[in-house]
Symmetry: C2
Subunit: 422 residues, 2 copies
């Protein structure tokens, strides 16, 4: 496409591309924008070296190769801040620049936003279901090794407390946490058979009594008794990773209390998703460990975002054939809130348009500058700031938006079409 556009003179035509999801995953009531910060970092460094160019050298002419060699995005990007909620059609990113430089970004932009937003959207529901109890992200083993790092970041963005992925700590400052595995207990097997006490003693000797012991390798009741024998009633926590977690948590709580270990926390893990987390709300569970269902987006592993050309030389354009239509013209987005803060509607306006004021509602511009002339905006938020923004955005959801049951998007989106061409 770029070679042809360079040849026919259209490569530098001013274009606007938009990123949006046509719909939310079935029954979901909101989505969460994830990945923006990570994307801007990658865009800043998005270049082609000689190794990359060598791969396409045979299929491109010298002009196109030279263009790629000198490539640097020089346009503007506006978008929803990371952590903000989105709904069907929300223009979460708006990219302006020449056709060729913009079209080249499509795969990277969508890869980052589709992955991270899918994880963030699932994680936000889990955080809401946990109702204030901390969740440890522990899903690295169930997804691509690099996706794992991004997933830990997206989970933290939306309220998870920590991650077992230490690389996410290194790269993104996500607090790290973890517990031991069954292998550590099994390792302490001698000629006389299993020796759970020896494994617990070793862990406590190394990490102190505030550690969390994994008690379900053999018999849970015996494991809890051994844990308190070894660590005393000041033991930090026990983890249960299998079985009927609600019933086991109740039993273990009674047992811990009977042993005087009133402050020993119960951590549960094992194929938890937002529904299982919510089902455990009434149980004496102090923290959750969530893995597979988090990193796979709890049934929706991609956010379904697309990257569509909406304007060329100021002219609104759109695919017209049946199915997969998109809305022509560059758009900006405004969300209307009651004085109480509750969001009631999102309105997509032509880029330069405005909305008449309504005395009962506050208008909030959803899009902020992210890149100008190819440079990232100076005041991009940190991950911690995006996490705070997400938390405050969740508060604006109408109450039914937090329901886990299937439903309509919690905030309707209205489109004000571009006026007739002047």
């Amino acid at each position: 496409m770029i070679r042809a556009a360079l040849a026919d003179g259209t490569a530098d035509r001013p274009c606007v591309f938009e990123v949006f999801a046509r719909r939310l995953p079935a029954g979901r009531r909101y989505g969460v924008v994830g990945g923006t910060g990570r994307l801007l970092e990658r865009l800043r460094d998005f270049r082609f070296g000689e190794e990359e160019l060598a791969v396409v050298a045979d299929s491109l002419d010298e002009r196109t190769l030279g263009w790629l060699r000198d490539f640097r995005f020089t346009g503007h990007i506006d978008g929803y801040p990371e952590g903000e909620l989105f709904f069907p059609g929300s223009p979460v990113l708006s990219i302006r620049g020449g056709f060729a430089e913009c079209v080249l970004l499509e795969t990277l932009v969508l890869s980052v936003l589709n992955h991270d937003s899918a994880i963030a959207s699932a994680a936000a529901r889990m955080t809401a279901a946990a109702d204030g109890r901390p969740i440890i992200e522990m899903g690295s083993r169930r997804t691509h090794e690099e996706a794992a790092v991004a997933a830990a970041r997206a989970a933290y963005l939306t309220g998870f407390a920590s991650t077992s992925n230490v690389e996410a700590t290194r790269r993104h400052g996500v607090p790290s946490a973890g517990t031991s595995a069954h292998a550590f207990t099994l390792l302490h097997t001698g000629p006389d058979g299993p020796d759970e006490a020896s494994a617990f003693r070793s862990q406590v000797a190394t990490l102190g009594v505030d550690t969390t012991l994994l008690v379900d390798t053999y018999d849970i009741t015996r494991g809890v008794a051994t844990a308190i024998e070894v660590a005393g009633p000041g033991l930090g926590g026990v983890r249960i990773d299998s079985g009927d977690l609600g019933m086991l948590a109740r039993q273990v709580r009674v047992q811990l209390d009977s042993l005087g270990a009133h402050r020993t926390r119960i951590v549960v893990s094992g194929d938890l998703d937002e529904y299982a987390i919510a089902a455990l709300r009434a149980e004496p569970v102090d923290a959750y460990g969530v893995g597979t269902r988090l990193v796979t987006g709890s049934g929706a592993p991609t956010a379904g975002m697309v990257y569509k050309l909406v304007e060329v030389d100021g002219i609104p354009v759109a695919k017209r054939s049946a199915h997969k239509e998109s809305l022509p013209g560059a758009k900006r987005a405004v969300r209307l809130h009651r004085r109480s803060g509750t969001a009631v509607e999102e309105v997509l306006l032509p880029w330069a348009g405005s909305l008449p004021a309504d005395p009962g509602l506050e208008q909030r511009d959803l899009m902020v500058p992210l890149m100008r002339d190819g440079d990232t905006a100076a005041d991009l938020p940190t991950l911690a700031e995006s996490r705070a923004l997400h938390e405050s955005a969740m508060v604006t959801l109408p109450w039914e938006g937090l329901a886990l049951s299937e439903g309509e998007p919690a905030v309707p989106v209205r489109v004000v079409p571009p006026g007739p061409r002047r």
Copy 2:
């Protein structure tokens, strides 16, 4: 775990860990081992630098930090060759070494195998459904940017013809292919409105008449007519990306034939999975483009593989509490085939065990050496060789194994337990 094991003297105890999936995704009849080649490359380079160590410095003692600084895996790995089929319990990887060096590999091993095997397992079903017609992988935009490269590789392993991900070409030699996007057609909009012919002329001028033109930006019938007007009846192909693909393919075939374009291929794309591909078998479709459903594992984005300690100092060990049991003891796997080649059973034997010969069946060892003393085995297959191995493995599936409908694993797995301890 490693710090405690170093302190209590168990860090170097000889251990065997195994990687296996407890079950296949609901209704799937086989899985495909993907990622082994990629994993071995990553294991070879698996080291910790000062930047990584700095992150864990506060929570580790000097001894553990020193151990990590000097870390290099020195053990042995055996496993199913990449491209081989697996079933519930198949020990696709067996890792032998000291406890600490083996347990440290868990996340990397599982991340690579769970991701790549999920994609390979979905892709194999798509390849079978396509029944010889080529499939182009075009899902990069719907998954994490690095997972995308691995997904393209896994798809090629299992029979896809090519990928739109050029980085997969660079890293893994996967043939690259692609078509233009709707944006290229929309770009060619002037003051007088859309100009599809101008977009087609530009593409043909650059890529020649053997190119594939995307004909569904506006009206498909008009698009096909314009495509042949511009390129002549020698046009390589047209792509349809939306709508009722079967009906449209029939209409477009008739139209192309009526225009004398008998050899112009029809490429279809748009939310295709193995079922949609199979449903199009009777239609005049020449090639498929598959994206989202491939990179998300067609409903099963992770292969569910686990990494379990099965032997310590020669003693078989296993978690014993209810749920999530695993089979103790290091195992080797043998598949039994009829003389015709059809696989009839997989048998898991104790590592040193053997199976009595059956005159009607051939025994095939499934596990091959992958690493010895931390070095990759000298004769590891290339991706092309693994692709050929996969193709020949698919031929051994009982015929019902190729059915897309939900069913039992196509090859039953029998376990011969370890004998009593001597």
